[in-house]
């Protein structure tokens, strides 16, 4: 060792500066983001809740999709009005990680008009979800609705489940023995009351809807039977 290199400090003032500047930028950015998140959190959650509640009202046949999810302009009911309607007519029930809604005709505790369930699961590339209203004896579907914004399926294919033509066909469908889908449904066939028309080119989405429907209705049936015992 002829030449002893001068020992260079591993962390000099320049290196400290790098650490401090980067840490400061990250800390400020993180702090501001936390702040913005805190400010907007309530709005984001309220949006999702309001959409779900509006969808339940449509599924139950109390309002039309055009009234609550208009293509243009404002919905007929404000978020506050939807909440008010819920307070008066609809009871939300949570039973072992499963939520369903009881819709009453005049007031909560009065004449039961319908049960509403939300079916939700993963489809071909995103979320598949639908709100379904059932007769109090669960034998027949009273109506259904899909919130267009939350569906994650392929545009033009699976995403077509958000079209009224798709979800409106569940109205009047019998749930027993089980719901099936078919291509080109024949209304005169004896099985027609259990069938819905599949979406062309989106068999996976249709399968998911069918399975979720049958499973969720069976689940609700079990819970209600337990309640009545």
């Amino acid at each position: 060792m002829a030449q002893q290199p001068k020992k260079k400090k591993l962390i000099g003032p320049h290196e400290w500066r790098m650490v401090i500047v980067l840490t400061a930028i990250a800390a400020i950015a993180g702090g501001l983001l936390a702040l913005v998140n805190e400010v907007t959190k309530a709005t984001i959650e309220a949006n999702a809740k309001s959409r779900l509640r509006s969808s339940i009202l449509i599924a139950a046949g109390l309002y039309t999709a055009e009234e609550l999810f208009p293509a243009e302009g404002l919905p007929k009911l404000s978020a506050a009005q939807v909440d008010q309607y819920f307070k008066e007519h609809i009871q939300e029930i949570k039973a072992d990680s499963f939520t369903y809604w009881k819709v009453y005709k005049d007031k909560i505790g009065g004449e039961l008009m319908a049960y509403v369930i939300r079916i939700a699961g993963s489809g071909f590339q995103g979320l598949v979800a639908m709100q379904v209203a059932l007769k109090p004896d669960l034998s027949e579907i009273l109506g259904a609705h899909v919130v267009p914004f939350e569906i994650g399926e392929t545009p033009g294919l699976g995403f077509r489940m958000t079209e009224e033509q798709f979800w409106s066909q569940f109205k009047g469908m019998k749930t027993e023995p089980r719901i099936e889908f078919i291509k080109f449904r024949d209304p005169n066939s004896p099985k027609a009351s259990n069938q819905f028309d599949a979406i062309t080119g989106a068999t996976y989405t249709s399968t998911t809807v069918r399975d979720l429907l049958n499973q969720t209705i069976a689940k609700l049936r079990k819970i209600i039977q337990k309640e009545q015992k």
Binding site: R17, M18, V21, L22, T40, I44, P148, P155, G156, L157
Partner: protein, 224 residues
């Protein structure tokens, strides 16, 4: 001095704004970024949102505008901090700044424009990885004033918005028979290929050809 400025101001309208404006540096940057260095059709940059978020005109436009806001804010911030950030850590610092602004845009869309936010899906958070946002920070904002950097970013953002809207218009017309959600063709048989990303590939190629034909100068090509 004040008088001189007064005179200059008073005599300024003699030269029409349309002639004076093109001479400024900011304007030249703006035009170059919109047309000559158009990020989509010239540089072939940011292809991921170009394919993914343009199946409807409104989606393309919204994606372009979200990117525009994030780029302008990031470029201005980077330019303002350019003397403070040590060269060795500039890239991580830029990434934090860009991620910050994109997340802000994403949160605001989710809170106040939920339908649009849902339609764009993951493409808004993905602006963080959009190469021309970091590209403008590195190539321009790190050496220029915040004002000029913001103009430069505005040009790129406008060019991007224009390209995405043009793609969206054609894809929506052919794929859905509508334009900005208004039905144009009744009884239209949708071209499914225009709705899926493959249609965007074909269209981008077509547009690149058209731009090259009418404006042969400049180079085509860039990154992913």
């Amino acid at each position: 001095m004040a008088e001189a400025i007064q005179i200059q101001k008073a005599s300024a309208p003699a030269i029409p704004l349309t002639q004076r404006l093109p001479q400024t540096k900011g304007w030249k940057e703006l035009v170059r970024d919109i047309w000559d260095d158009n990020p989509t059709f010239r540089m072939i940059l940011a292809m991921c949102p170009t394919m993914g978020a343009t199946n409807m005109a409104i989606n393309g436009m919204a994606q372009g505008l979200a990117t525009l806001i994030a780029t302008v804010a990031s470029s201005a911030t980077v330019a303002a901090l350019r003397t403070i950030i040590p060269a060795e850590v500039r890239l991580p610092a830029y990434m934090i700044i860009i991620a910050f602004w994109v997340t802000i845009v994403d949160i605001f869309l989710r809170a106040y424009l939920p339908p649009l936010s849902a339609a764009l899906g993951p493409y808004v958070p993905l602006i963080i990885t959009n190469c021309f946002v970091l590209g403008r920070a590195e190539a321009f904002a790190s050496q220029n004033s915040p004002g000029l950097s913001a103009l430069d970013a505005l040009g790129v953002g406008l060019g991007f918005t224009m390209s995405l809207t043009l793609l969206g218009i054609v894809r929506e017309l052919l794929g859905f028979g509508s334009l900005f959600g208004i039905q144009i063709f009744s009884g239209w048989t949708p071209w499914v290929i225009m709705i899926i990303p493959a249609g965007a590939f074909l269209l981008v190629g077509l547009y690149v050809g058209i731009v090259k034909h009418f404006s042969p100068g400049g180079q085509i090509g860039g990154g992913a």
